[in-house]
Point group: C2
């Protein structure tokens, strides 16, 4: 069994509204063995795609993205969410609604950091309704670059984000898919 499945079964905490809390290994504490497994699995799957750049969203995507970037020998760009005074206005922007935080925010990437025709790999920790990934795709398309793949650590298969992306033809690879949450247990796709 992969380290990811093992940690999901042992350490994930299920809260109300189907929130799966994985802060002990993925998005608050980061388990180094898990991150190395993630790096290797994404590289194995996407290695023939001639990836030029990896993009993700702050904050939880950053650690995963830089690990994967080492394998591909490419740079990472992470989309910013807040209104930092030192990010210029010369940015691609996209609206993103967070169901976890119950608010809409804007993600942005400086236009200097995505070139037309670049082959982009999108990486993120979670996929549920797919709002964050849709925002990143929106930005890549504004830049006239190409989304060559989408790598997600944990997909909630009982929500609609993954299905929508696959129907649109995106090459989406999720390392773990949760098909249901029944009596406080994760039902994982095998």
């Amino acid at each position: 069994m992969s380290k990811l499945y093992q940690l999901l079964q042992q350490d994930a905490v299920i809260l109300e509204n189907s929130i799966v809390k994985v802060d002990s290994f993925l998005n608050h504490q980061m388990n180094i063995e898990l991150f190395e497994e993630i790096r290797d699995q994404f590289y194995e799957y996407f290695k023939d795609k001639k990836i030029d750049k990896i993009i993700t969203c702050e904050a939880s995507g950053i650690g995963i993205a830089i690990m994967v970037a080492q394998a591909f020998r490419v740079n990472v760009v992470f989309a910013k969410k807040d209104e930092s005074q030192i990010l210029t206005n010369n940015c691609y922007t996209a609206p993103v609604f967070s169901y976890t935080k119950n608010k809409e925010s804007v993600i942005k990437i400086d236009k200097r950091f995505i070139q037309a025709n670049e082959n982009i790999l999108i990486i993120d920790d979670f996929l549920a309704n797919g709002e964050a990934v849709a925002g990143l795709i929106n930005i890549v398309q504004q830049a006239h670059a190409h989304v060559r793949g989408i790598g997600i650590v944990i997909e909630k298969g009982f929500q609609q984000g993954g299905q929508r992306l696959r129907e649109k033809g995106f090459d989406l690879y999720s390392l773990a898919i949760i098909d249901a949450i029944i009596e406080n247990q994760l039902i994982m796709r095998v």
Copy 2:
């Protein structure tokens, strides 16, 4: 010359109030060759410290910390800044004032993720007045763990944070120190 010095001289942009913008290689786009150099330099300096865990602040510290963590074979914990609904109240907290954003925020780390007597390496991208690092030290001390080292990518030597930490006896290692900004040029310590 190191990759870091080369990128600082070539690509850093100097804004008003001595803000040094390094978003093309450090904290928006992340240059993979630079991150590998950073990993190797911090490991070489701190490798005899028996580090158990690396802590940092979201968002810019995360990518650096996970790179360094690979060399040490330890986990990372990143302090969170916002009021996420899924972070429990069972956290160590510390106030941090950001001069860049001109506002005070609270950083927090779940109490489960720092154990008493752990040997902690603090990693961050920038050190100016030292507010973020002081907040992390505060949290480590609340947990009765030990700050064994502080690794900073870029220190502003003309501000007070570095001097204060060294006077208090912390083992602070900055990969680049900017001693002054004169006529829109970085004067780097060699």
